[in-house]
Symmetry: D2
Subunit: 260 residues, 4 copies
């Protein structure tokens, strides 16, 4: 095969020099912050000013959700087992699945497809929203990015929409997400709030991100917290965290003899 | 560098042929069982008959310990997050750390060093055991492979010793482990049982395994169970397993205003 | 919620006793081998004799494929980074994805759905196979479990079919897989062999396994090899395995100044 | 046990409210950036202004090192296997081991112990540096945080020291690290540069961080890059990345018959 085995468009290392997307990393550090450089890594270009401000909010707004998150819980158990810090963190990262942060991907795809389809077929945002809701309800599927078990108004959505307003990023994808929210009462007889996953999805769509990078926002957002929880478990809690034998309900067959 | 980047002594693939340690894998399958072939992979040679029987026991005796194991618990949380099966299993594997299966390594090193040292310095097993206990108690360290929070007599140790007897594998390392156990009452004023980690350590030392492969036995032993638990969680339990917000005790600072 | 948080039907621990699916684990060890007990964990019952023999073959036939496997390669890089054994193994496990062992799941689902559908609609195996091929070719999808980049006749398929013959397990699912293979020349103008993933899929379907456990076979099969490769890398190769800077082809933008 | 099973000092969730270390997260977002909030998570307090600027530099300076990093390489192989994004990232995270970012921990411990010891025993920085070098050279151990295979002057160290100067963070730990560097020529007959790990170690020690959080800086720093590489591999490169069978050097025993 003529393609080189080791190749990348992301960065280049030479003795005493590191280029990231063409820029000397040392000319960026101290001038652009972590959120800006994450944007550079993912998009290939430095962010315009409004994207820069939004990016930082997107990467901090779901910083923490206490132990009410399977990723954090997985991290705790691993951290209690006598492993190095990164091992515990890796277990938390791998838990960022379809039902835990992953709705960002699915919601961003849904909103991007919806806006494209509305444009192609000259539908209004309202018609587009109705179609999306109908599709999901016919397939008996949840609409990704809507509803929350704990919050009745997701404070993170409120904050992100506020900053999206200030940064001129409340465009058609955000509008579509909000119209869907407003129609849920009618269709489902209960209000499904636009949750933080759905709101991030709408805003990153507005900013032109590929929906397949959606989980990336959640992963970066949660990594410092996973480290904090692993550290807390390792140095401030007992080793070998697990329920005791008599706290576990056994639902299998009763004791039986091994066949002869 | 003259060393090839991709090299291994373990196996070789050619079109329509797979060699493992020199043997055609297809001549082994159906003739040697899983435990035998694990032995071949790790040692480079097929096991003699007594090692074969022992190997299978070593790989099955710690098959399961219910949810009373951080590895299984980590697997459950990850499995509940909307991820593929292997992702949940990987989180369980990474939890097999120094305090969860890892004592096999440390105990095997201790026993192998002890027997070597006894030989070099012409000490009796009893003297060697006393020295090991003193060393650990002076450094205020636990003796790896001894003591258990749930079992007062580890049933797995009993079973392994029985099979080790049948297979002529109760040699000096096993003896040393048993003498250490018998001396714990005197030194610590409580009896520390030889647990399954310590017993596996003794037997694999007897069989000539490098202590640095110790965790391998526990990893292989627990993998089918991690798969079973992941599967059970994915298809028989709720998604997004986590404690509810009101079940979590917060021990940090009370609510405070953000500085101006 | 009234459901207990910690519950499982798989096993139960009490002081000095471990039950697996109702059996005392110590009555199983030494009597049933690793493959049998894996079967018990996944199915809830001990295997009949023909399933026992087949199970062991299924768990050993894809034991190793040298470094020609992303899971092994991932393990090597992690093992070279100064981590404990299980960390390197976990990286290999997580790589057992849709394109690496995962075809077992998809192929088993396809064959199970096919046989069910053939029964419901009174189709012949040949008609069923034709329908499956047409469906995939219309959707421009690969048929999972068929074709191999290295082997022109997968030696593992040959071996498994031989043992399936001896154990009376060459039933309708296996037949369907073989008819699909025989029809590929006609439909695709090249022969797509029944590869080991497809063959495992057919046989476990024959044995009554849920297709969603398909990857489990591959995971268990590869775990001892991942351990062997991690160990070889850690103690017989250089640390920090990575291509040197001048072996990497950079395909990004040329060096450019950071904007003012 | 009276200790609650689920407890944390890091954050608290209530319906519609998330507190992080006592602050309402929504009052922080948009006002404090990602580096500030990482600091809050790890230290429990918001950073003073000079720490804030330094923190951001610490988290961006080792953003990328192309494929010349085992963590990135592990991520590529996993990403090529048909897995979700986070699975590939988790494999990269777990590779951040003792020889890949982990020197930050060890170097920070060494420098913190050194400065403490110099204070206790009224040694000069030069005497302290000499003692550290002698200790390591007698134990035939590398000094963590010194030397680099590619860079003859680590550009990241240069940048960090510049910002540490601007932020009044070039205190005793940084001085000790620099004196060690200056003495390497004499002791080892070659110059061992203060590399980025050693420099981060010195600065975080200056800032008062526990050395056991050292790897956290590297993990956060590399996470966006691991995501970028996983994404690039998944959507711009071939699936099932692995060397072909004929690119692998087999160093095991030649083909041999299976014993009767």
């Amino acid at each position: 095969m003529s393609e080189p085995f080791w190749k990348t468009a992301i960065s280049k290392v030479e003795p005493n020099k590191i280029l990231v997307r063409g820029y000397n990393l040392m000319d960026l550090v101290g001038k652009y912050n972590y959120a800006d450089l994450t944007y550079l890594l993912w998009r290939g270009e430095l962010p315009p000013a409004n994207h820069s401000r939004m990016m930082d909010a997107l990467l901090t707004v779901c910083l923490e959700h206490s132990l009410n998150a399977p990723s954090v819980d997985a991290t705790l158990f691993v951290a209690s087992s006598g492993v190095p810090l990164q091992a515990a963190v890796s277990a938390g990262i791998v838990a960022i699945g379809d039902w835990h942060g992953g709705a960002i991907e699915q919601a961003a795809k849904m909103l991007q497809d919806g806006i494209q389809s509305a444009k192609d077929r000259q539908m209004s945002t309202r018609e587009c929203a109705q179609e999306i809701i109908k599709d999901h309800s016919e397939r008996k599927e949840k609409i990704p990015g809507f509803g929350h078990p704990t919050h009745t108004k997701d404070p993170r959505t409120v904050k992100l929409l506020e900053i999206a307003g200030e940064t001129q990023l409340r465009g058609p994808h955000v509008e579509l997400a909000q119209v869907i929210e407003s129609l849920t009462d009618e269709f489902f007889r209960k209000h499904l709030i636009l949750n933080v996953d759905g709101c991030i999805a709408a805003i990153i769509s507005e900013m032109g991100f590929d929906w397949r990078l959606g989980k990336g926002f959640f992963i970066v957002s949660r990594t410092p917290g996973l480290i904090a929880h692993a550290y807390e478990q390792m140095y401030n809690d007992r080793p070998y965290k697990a329920p005791d034998w008599n706290e576990i309900t056994y639902t299998g067959p009763p004791e039986r003899p091994v066949p002869k």
